[in-house]
């Protein structure tokens, strides 16, 4: 394996990692604040990708408009399921929300396949030639995707660390009872949380749809990869989710040079097992965060 191939794999892995960091951040925030692993995240992504295809068919082919509308649609979807399902399960055990999130995943995916069928779609993006630096190839589209993801991630970290709303969110994550006793409105925190989850999963789905093919299993197949990297970074830690996903994205691309792409899911599974054996709290997690 010559080094140019490996560098290309690293670049590709970094782009994939950065865009999957969006849903990974969504998973970790839900785990930190609403306290359950949201298995519907992958299918929220799928919904975003199909919403983008729909937008291009009926509204506008502009990628900016498409990405905005599709993320907004997914945001509304996430808020709807929060209002109907997760809000009523808030006082029950996390298991209830977890099982319900599987149900939501099925409902979202089957609604998509009922209307759109099983055949794949494409999100139209302008065809561009890759820049070639003596064998190291960089697609401008990939750069835009990475930049969009990076800006979105920066926005959430800004929200979490520099606004009072973000401070309230972190307070709820640390200790919901204490936060509620100090007069923090859990409701507003939850609405913000689920808007971010929807917008981010949707945007992640659109970006992925531009890079790959849009199909019903798009998000579901990534669910384990996302969970693996979130556990690697430390469940509930936002910075851990982003670093974990980047690390995972790159190592996955490099590893598939050697073992083939078919075993990506298996690789994710083994990473989870190894992390849980060696360092159950993940790279950035606090011990107390492990329940």
């Amino acid at each position: 394996m010559d080094w140019v191939t490996i560098v290309n794999a690293v670049i590709n892995g970094a782009v994939v990692g950065l865009l999957l960091a969006l849903p990974a951040l969504a998973v970790t925030l839900v785990f930190g604040i609403a306290r359950f692993p949201n298995a519907a995240t992958g299918d929220y992504m799928t919904f975003g990708a199909y919403a983008a295809v729909m937008t291009q068919m009926f509204v506008s082919t502009s990628l900016v408009v498409t990405a905005l509308l599709a993320s907004l649609a997914t945001g509304l979807l996430a808020l709807f399921f929060y209002g109907w399902v997760f809000r009523s399960l808030a006082n029950r055990s996390p298991v209830a929300s977890l099982i319900a999130s599987i149900g939501i995943a099925f409902v979202v995916r089957s609604s998509i396949t009922f209307f759109a069928g099983q055949s794949p779609y494409n999100i139209q993006a302008p065809l561009v030639r890759a820049w070639n630096f003596s064998g190291i190839r960089v697609l401008p589209t990939d750069l835009y995707i990475a930049a969009t993801a990076a800006v979105a991630l920066a926005a959430v970290f800004g929200l979490l660390h520099f606004t009072s709303l973000g401070r309230r969110m972190r307070a709820v994550a640390d200790n919901p009872e204490l936060a509620s006793a100090s007069g923090i409105s859990i409701r507003r925190v939850m609405l913000t949380l689920w808007s971010i989850v929807g917008l981010f999963s949707g945007l992640g789905g659109v970006l992925l749809g531009i890079k790959a093919v849009v199909m019903p299993e798009l998000g579901w197949e990534l669910l384990l990869t996302i969970f693996a990297s979130v556990i690697l970074g430390g469940l509930g830690s936002p910075i851990g989710a982003v670093c974990g996903m980047l690390l995972f994205g790159i190592s996955q691309e490099v590893a598939s040079l050697y073992v083939g792409t078919a075993y990506k899911i298996v690789l994710a599974f083994f990473v989870i097992l190894c992390v849980l054996l060696v360092r159950p709290q993940g790279m950035f997690g606090k011990i107390i965060a492990v329940r």
Partner: protein
């Protein structure tokens, strides 16, 4: 019609075996196994591959049951000291990884082509109909046996410990019991039943392929026990019958509703399972037959 009734009854009993295993794990112990279909697959493939090599069927069934239990052991050891969410993610990952392996390792499993021509259970038993009837009888005996054993298990000291782990794990460890060890044993027992069900499935349908073992099957079984009431044996029976009525009934749906294609019908089934999961959890958390010994969750 007779054939059809026999066929449906066999399927019901195979699902009931699976539901018993999952109910032992979730209903009685509180373990969230989202990869149950993986153990079903292990059972099916183990028994199929061994019997194709000429191993007698009773031995292949035994191997299928044991191997499913053995595979559950490391999963339990790694995750059961952590919270339940981890077990859910790990088991889901396990079943999906296993499916990838079944798809890719063609030397062992013939990959996506599947394994055809698996010997039936009572093949040389005077024709297929009486063979199926005998199989039905055997499944009935196995199911009743499992229920009797489970009743004993639940009322035994072991059963009381796992029920209290489900309700309050901290209290159990405070009393000096080690919850992880009890949970591992329950996980292995339940998975063994999944493996046994898999063996029955393989030798009944005589053809297995990786696509028969998608996560949807796991959630079929989940909906059966949640709907029926997870902590009761009557819940297992009623839940399985409701599930199979729905699965078989939706087959006839197409005769009444025009303009729905086969693919769309699959989506509709999938949608109903999702909705059933959501609605039961929200509106009927204890299932149709609430377990009166369990505290409200």
């Amino acid at each position: 019609m007779e054939f059809y009734l026999i066929a449906i009854s066999i399927t019901v009993l195979i699902y009931m075996l699976m539901a018993s295993g999952l109910a032992l794990q979730y209903g009685f112990t509180g373990l969230i196994n989202f990869g149950y279909v993986g153990f079903f697959a292990i059972g099916a493939y183990t028994s199929a591959i061994l019997s194709m090599q000429g191993v007698p069927l009773p031995l292949t069934f035994l191997a299928a049951t044991l191997l499913a239990a053995v595979v559950a052991y490391p999963l339990g050891i790694i995750t059961l000291r952590l919270s339940g969410d981890y077990l859910a993610i790990i088991t889901l990952g396990f079943s999906e990884s296993l499916r990838m392996v079944l798809q890719k390792e063609e030397w062992l499993t013939r990959g996506v082509h599947g394994i055809p021509g698996i010997p039936r259970v009572f093949d040389n038993w005077a024709g297929p109909v009486s063979g199926d009837l005998t199989l039905l009888g055997l499944l009935l005996i196995v199911n009743i046996g499992v229920f009797v054993l489970m009743r004993h298990l639940i009322t035994s000291p072991f059963g009381r410990v796992i029920a209290s782990i489900r309700d309050n794990e901290v209290a159990v460890s405070a009393l000096g019991k080690n919850p992880a060890s009890f949970k591992t044993r329950s996980l292995m027992l339940g998975s063994a039943l999944g493996g046994l069900a898999g063996a029955f499935q393989a030798h009944y349908v005589t053809f297995i392929s990786p696509e028969q073992f998608v996560p949807l099957i796991t959630f079929y079984v989940w909906i059966a026990i949640i709907l029926g009431g997870a902590g009761r044996i009557s819940g297992i029976i009623v839940g399985t019958i409701i599930l199979l009525t729905f699965l078989e009934g939706s087959r006839f749906l197409r005769d009444f509703v025009g303009g729905v294609s086969e693919v769309q019908l699959a989506s509709v089934r999938f949608w109903i399972i999702g909705m059933a999961l959501i609605c039961t959890i929200i509106y009927r958390p204890q299932g149709l037959f609430p377990d009166k010994t369990k505290k409200r969750g």
